[in-house]
Symmetry: C2
Subunit: 477 residues, 2 copies
């Protein structure tokens, strides 16, 4: 109950002006020399030493002798516990596994501002222990509640006030989204994009970049981090009307991609049909999950200071020690999840009457709050498939693996969240292929505009699909 | 994986045609004589005897001797258990209570069909033991999974196949929505409206009604049941363009109401602002709930065959025995929730630049899957307020109670779901008042078009707000 009563006057609905402004910034992709010299300097200065250590030697973290669960001594941050999963009718109907529980909602926020009529994003060079390259390009703010309430008595989180008091500024996007449902239990972060007018001091780890520049950097291996990708995916790159970028068709693929971003170009399925398909799957799928002590998770054992599966597959829970650098606190140790190998995350895409559609998969994962989220066509770690029943092999994996090079529109290895996942790298790919999909299957062709409509709301697209949406938009300028 | 591959051809996005067809049906409100004679006949034929019985005497239901929880011997239908609630910072931050757990997703579906170019809804005269009037007007299908998988070996649910195989027909709406978050733990039903072309045989308990006729019947006490109201609220009565009903402005209020249904008329807050406000509250609100055995719920006791609060307030869990009639099974007994008194559910409405806005309240209830849902301005049982702290008194209750009669646009007592709630009646009201609301409060002025946009998705509007939205639309024709 603060502030003055608002002025009671109507405003008409937003027109296409924001899309046009975003498009202008997308076209401003040159001039990355300054970025690279800044980034190289930051990388040299932020040198951290990351050492694997046994879980027993973590400082500030303890294993409960009874449950085997791992938690921080403050009770904050996150904990590692077990989960029993039952999905009747799935290729693997029952299993148990370790999982991260992090009930706090964090903020992932990008601050944007116009310079000379061109929107720029304030990006951060941020070290995370799990990052494949150490330093990656992160949102302006990337903070858990424990961070910004300063549980670890570190430095204040810079720029946080713009996001905690966002109603004073222009909010372009603000939506709760899930993260990895295979590794996190019901985790959600607030994805925010806030536009400011006034002066913004730029800290030494920060830099202003256009959407076009960010899009070029998305083609670099392990540079733009997962949090940046998910926030970017929530931006309205799409248009209710004809898309402003339609005027620069470089080739057929580009034109089909830009047309996919506009509501007026149409789509194979209508939105009511897509929503009904989603509702039907959510109503009919049964997922029973039960949090359980780690000591009661069968086939997973504490061994050599880590928690490992008896086959050595899937992932390990390891401990890491981090020393030096410029983060909020100088050094710390923590548990992390280390996947057993690199994965593949891919959309199969197809032009339908000249409009690009991507094949989304209705994917059930134990950690989703709402049973099912839309995922890329293929999302798997090929090294694990040998241990699973044949039906668990993703239906279109071979279409992706065997795609002729000229139809591979995007293929870049990118890291998952480096604060929780150690060296978790997936190759993100977009592959054109005219595959046929039967009605009634758990796959649907959708346009980018339809995905953007769903991205205004929580829990429709999983984090891998959101990453790929950001990658796809990077191809349109 | 059934059916043939679809034809890969694009369709343009739906135009305003559906809204125009709905509007035409809204204008066809006359000719209710046939309805009333049919209804009177059905009421005479469906006579049931509902008797209160002690919970101990329920047939087919048992109380677990250890937990005190009440469940059906089949393990299906629903159970009554306890819940501990902790909402830090709320007027009542901690309490425990009995609650219904019903993990199954049911179907609430209305079948629609055009006769002579006018859409009609296939409505059902359905007896429920808790209905204030016995027989009420219910959707074509109103069935839990236990009903339609025929756990009680009763008759098959008529018309169910249209909703289970809805993709063959035209789906106008299909969305999972919550029910009473104070009495149900995370219950959700699938709200569906399906349009068919071919012949539909009409059973003796069924009748075709236009939207206009349904809207007139919404002004009758305890006739249109809760399930019909929530399904109707999910229909796209609103328009992206100028609304077709704008041509018949009967008076200023009617004109403001119809303008509120159109996106082009604008609104006080933009949709990104509304979504950001919702996201912020969901991210910051903490609700900790824990299901607990009924025997461990303090202040609630088994007494005289019921479960009652020590003050006699809030609600009671009672047993009822039902005999006779034409339902799927001839007679049965079951536990029910009986509220301690009638409630008030009201929107305060205000014209802003000639566009009607209603004041929605961000309401946190223990049974919501997503922390908070948008509720009417006022939603309470006045008889319970004396036992609660003063801060728990709804902020705008007196505005509603003291409204001059000429500003009360709607005021009708309507029943909540009669299959679970015994004689649960709320007066649903819409009251015009130019109250001021501060920025930062947990209230926002929204148009009907904005509410309709949110109603395409799950868990934005609570069941009371959805009922009131249906009532509001009934005033526009």
């Amino acid at each position: 109950m603060t502030g003055a009563p608002p002025t009671y006057a109507i405003r008409s609905r937003p027109n296409g002006r924001l899309t046009a402004r975003i498009a202008r910034s997308m076209l401003a992709g040159d001039g990355l020399e300054a970025f690279w010299s800044w980034y190289t300097e930051r990388a040299a200065l932020s040198a951290h030493r990351v050492t694997r250590i046994p879980l027993e030697e973590l400082s500030g973290w303890s294993t409960d002798p009874e449950t085997g669960d791992i938690g921080h001594d403050s009770g904050k941050f996150f904990s590692v516990t077990g989960i029993d999963v039952h999905i009747p009718g799935a290729p693997v109907p029952r299993w148990s596994q370790p999982i991260i529980v992090q009930p706090e909602v964090g903020i992932l926020g990008i601050l944007v501002k116009e310079f000379d009529g061109v929107l720029h994003c304030l990006m951060q060079a941020k070290f995370e222990p799990g990052n494949a390259n150490g330093l990656q390009l992160s949102p302006t703010v990337q903070a858990t509640k424990s961070n910004f309430s300063r549980v670890h008595r570190g430095k204040a989180v810079p720029y946080l006030e713009f996001f905690r008091d966002s109603a004073r500024h222009g909010v372009l996007a603000d939506v709760l989204q899930s993260e990895q449902g295979a590794w996190f239990y019901q985790k959600r972060n607030r994805n925010m994009i806030v536009e400011v007018d006034g002066d913004v001091p730029v800290g030494e780890n920060f830099i202003w970049l256009t959407f076009g520049q960010l899009h070029r950097l998305l083609r670099v291996e392990n540079l733009v981090n997962m949090d940046t990708r998910t926030v970017l995916s929530c931006l309205p790159f799409t248009s209710q009307d004809s898309h402003p970028l339609i005027v620069i068709p470089e080739d057929d693929f580009h034109q089909a991609l830009v047309r996919s971003c506009s509501a007026v170009e149409g789509s194979l399925h209508s939105m009511p049909e897509i929503l009904s398909w989603i509702t039907g799957i959510r109503a009919q799928s049964e997922v029973v999950t039960r949090v359980t002590p780690l000591t009661r998770v069968p086939r997973w054992h504490r061994s050599g200071g880590a928690i490992v599966h008896e086959n050595g597959l899937f992932f390990r829970v390891i401990g890491v020690d981090v020393a030096g650098g410029s983060r909020e606190v100088a050094s710390w140790s923590q548990p992390m999840i280390e996947p057993s190998g690199n994965g593949i995350v891919a959309f199969v895409a197809r032009r339908i009457d000249g409009v690009l559609h991507v094949l989304v998969h209705a994917r059930v994962e134990p950690g989703y709050v709402n049973v099912m989220e839309l995922a890329p066509t293929v999302q798997c770690t090929p090294g694990n498939l040998g241990a699973l029943p044949l039906e668990a092999r993703p239906r279109y994996l071979d279409v992706v693996l065997n795609a002729p090079p000229e139809l591979v529109r995007y293929s870049v290895p990118l890291s998952e969240e480096g604060g929780r996942f150690y060296n978790a790298v997936n190759t993100y790919a977009v592959v054109e292929a005219d595959v046929d999909v039967e009605d009634g299957a758990d796959y649907r062709w959708m346009t980018l505009h339809q995905l953007a409509e769903l991205l205004k709301h929580s829990n429709y697209l999983n984090v891998q699909a959101r990453s790929l949406v950001a990658c796809l938009h990077s191809l349109s300028s």
